[in-house]
């Protein structure tokens, strides 16, 4: 029982961290139709900047300032790089962001070295948040979950409760019409991109101390962010939340699943045959736990491409 509860909590919080990264990605796609390969690079930059700033002024200052800098960088990227390729079609946008992700990783390696840096959680959050079944649950992990929930709440309120939010949501659906009504759609694009980058930067600032801060985290996060966005439905914020929680829980519980296809075949009395064929059939689920999100993405793409809560077109 303890295992179930702790695993569920862990999976939930991990999923929420993924949501912070994927939210910006799905918003940008829904709004501008761009799949931003470099989005997870914002996560990485956020983590590294928070590391540098926290070394000078403390963790909390780093947490506050780093995402803001990432937001500025994000807006810079949109204004100077992406804007050029809007008219050239989706391929070129994809390729440009791909190139930017590449450059970003190399720049980080040049400045910080090709190994992990010690971005650690603050001592004030070192203890336990609460106890569950006699075991303590780490405070920092809980903090990450709280930040993610706050972020989602704020975003939701912004989009559904403020005038700017309404304009942005309208611009997602009908950019030409909104522009004709006199609103500055390119400013709206710029802001959305900036907010998305801010969220990813914040995710990096909290996640970098929870997980690791190294040049490889952007590539790892990119795949996972794509999985979340595709499974949830491109453009749907609610879908991203749902999908990220599912992925988090899936990763958490699959580790405990010490079963293979051969065990499944045993239900039909065919265990010996499956084990004889060997290879993929005797592969255990917990060994490929890291590949399960990608498998899920593939399945979703093949059966229900619009994702769980996306729009069918």
């Amino acid at each position: 029982m303890e295992f179930l509860v702790v695993s569920a909590l862990n999976g939930l919080i991990y999923g929420l961290l993924l949501f912070m990264v994927a939210a910006g990605l799905t918003l940008v796609f829904g709004m501008m139709g761009i799949v931003n390969f470099a989005h997870a690079s914002f996560y990485m930059i956020g983590a590294y900047l928070a590391f540098t700033i926290s070394g000078i002024a403390g963790f909390w200052v780093g947490l506050l300032v780093a995402p803001l800098i990432v937001a500025v960088i994000g807006m810079g990227v949109e204004r100077f790089a992406l804007r050029r390729v809007y008219d050239h079609g989706p391929s070129q946008q994809l390729l440009l962001t791909f190139g930017l992700a590449f450059v970003c990783e190399e720049l980080i390696k040049t400045f910080y070295g090709n190994y992990p840096v010690a971005y650690l959680q603050p001592h004030s959050l070192d203890g336990s948040a609460f106890t569950v079944f006699g075991a303590s649950y780490p405070a920092y992990r809980f903090f990450v979950g709280v930040v993610a929930v706050l972020m989602f709440a704020t975003l939701y309120l912004l989009l559904h409760g403020t005038r700017i939010g309404i304009i942005v949501r309208a611009a997602v659906q009908r950019p030409a019409m909104v522009s004709a009504l006199g609103h500055n759609v390119s400013l709206a694009f710029l802001l959305v991109f900036g907010v998305g980058a801010w969220m990813a930067g914040m995710a990096g600032a909290v996640g970098g101390a929870l997980l690791t801060t190294s040049p490889t985290i952007a590539a790892q996060m990119t795949i996972l962010a794509f999985v979340v966005v595709v499974v949830g439905g491109l453009g749907s914020l609610n879908g991203a939340l749902l999908a990220s929680v599912i992925i988090g829980l899936l990763t958490s519980f699959s580790v405990g699943a010490n079963v293979s296809f051969a065990d499944f075949a045993a239900l039909f009395g065919q265990r010996a045959l499956a084990e004889q064929i060997g290879g993929l059939l005797s592969l255990r689920v917990n060994t490929i736990a890291g590949s399960l999100p990608v498998l899920l993405m593939l399945l979703v793409l093949l059966t229900r491409p619009a994702g769980l809560l996306g729009e069918r077109d």
Binding site: S91, L96, F98, G99, F102, E106
Partner: protein
């Protein structure tokens, strides 16, 4: 005219072993293989408009098929002419492409790209669990067996086999364009809906195109294994898929030979630059990003445009290109100097030297030592970049009184 250029190019390539060192010949061999892979990739990406992010899978399928056949030939179980080994690679590519294509091409656009990415990533993730087919971390290796008069032991013989296959495959791909299927492929990119209205089964069409693209990718993979006599599952990774994308679009996907030239250029750049600096990956990425921003059609397409215009008498493009040259050199010099200085200073070796000696030793870039404390060291790259950007601005400025007014409809589309 065109045929003459082609024959000339092939002749030059055929004569390469005469004037190239063994090392450069090896680089050229890799360049030809990369070129074939890029052309195969472009069939799908450039002509059919389907951007695949997982082409490493079909390239590797071809490679693994060839290594298994090579091992079988080596152990004497099977008899097969050595220079025809890549054929099996093509077959493996065709089959895997047909299967993968069936699933991937159900939708287009971003979904297609995601599916191909997911398939390749999944395969790569499962690869360590399939040691009998893919070998473990150490991979699989074999040896080319002699056939007829050739022992295929020398690099020159390998080069000629690769050249032959590359030339024939390129020719086939070119001929493909002229066939009905080739025209239909372009139609897929231009307007899939119209094609389906005309009665064609676009899903089947996409599968066929995917399979053919995968087939030639498999040949390229097979050629790589033929040349290196070994392979391991790291070729299934994102790096391989990324490099073919880089090669194709740096050259340009709209001109037939664009990807090939891009691939050869990038291969040589990679080999030669990595001898000189450790930051060559950064430069490669920067070049790619810049090309995507400013010359989205690729370098070859841009060059071809400018050349065609110049031949027709419209020299503004050429003049602009010439005027951009000093700007480019300035910016390039500034960026390289800045990056090399920064990376030199942030390097662990350097920091250890600083700790040891207490002083900040100079860093050598462009054969000149630069002292970190000197103002020139930091001013030089900054000034160079700013100056270069200004020059670029000047070069691209329209001097209204020098250009004739543009009349709509008089320009070639």
């Amino acid at each position: 005219m065109r045929l003459l250029t082609v024959v000339l190019a092939v002749a030059v390539l055929a004569a390469a072993p005469l004037f190239m060192t063994s090392y450069l010949l090896g680089v050229l061999t890799n360049g030809l293989i990369a070129a074939l892979f890029a052309l195969a990739f472009n069939l799908l990406a450039g002509q059919a408009g389907l951007l695949s992010f997982g082409h490493a899978a079909y390239f590797s399928a071809g490679g693994f098929a060839v290594i298994h056949l090579m091992k079988a030939v080596e152990s004497g179980r099977v008899s097969f002419p050595t220079p025809l080994l890549p054929l099996v690679g093509g077959l493996a590519g065709l089959l895997s492409g047909a299967v993968a294509g069936f699933f991937a091409t159900r939708r287009g656009g971003a979904y297609f790209s995601m599916v191909t990415l997911a398939m390749a990533e999944l395969l790569y993730g499962l690869a360590p669990s399939m040691p009998s087919i893919l070998g473990g971390e150490a991979g699989l290796s074999s040896m080319r067996m002699p056939w007829l008069a050739f022992d295929f032991g020398s690099d020159v013989q390998v080069y000629y086999v690769v050249l032959a296959w590359a030339t024939v495959s390129t020719g086939l791909l070119y001929v493909y364009n002229q066939t009905l299927l080739g025209r239909l492929t372009v139609g897929l990119r231009e307007s899939e809906r119209r094609l389906s209205f005309l009665g064609y089964d676009t899903h089947l069409l996409k599968i066929v195109v995917f399979a053919i693209s995968a087939m030639f990718s498999g040949v390229a993979g097979g050629l790589l294994v033929f040349s290196m006599e070994s392979i391991n599952y790291s070729t299934l990774g994102l790096g391989t898929s990324a490099s073919v994308i880089l090669n194709t679009f740096i050259g340009g996907s709209s001109v037939f030979l664009g990807p090939a030239i891009g691939a050869v250029f990038v291969t040589f750049f990679g080999s030669l630059a990595s001898d000189v600096t450790r930051n060559w990956l950064l430069y490669q990425g920067l070049i790619f990003a810049l090309i995507m921003m400013f010359w989205g059609d690729g370098l070859v397409a841009k060059a071809a445009d400018v050349a065609r215009d110049a031949a027709a008498g419209r020299t503004t493009g050429l003049v602009r290109a010439i005027r951009m040259l000093p700007a480019g050199v300035c910016v390039g010099f500034g960026v390289v100097l800045g990056v090399e200085l920064l990376s030199g200073m942030l390097n662990r070796d350097y920091r250890a030297a600083v700790e040891r000696s207490g002083a900040w030793p100079p860093i050598t870039v462009f054969w000149r030592p630069w002292h970190p404390a000197a103002i020139l060291t930091w001013a030089a790259p900054l000034v160079a970049v700013v100056f270069g950007v200004l020059l670029a601005r000047l070069a691209t400025q329209r001097r209204k009184h020098m250009e004739p007014p543009r009349v709509l409809g008089s320009e070639t589309p």
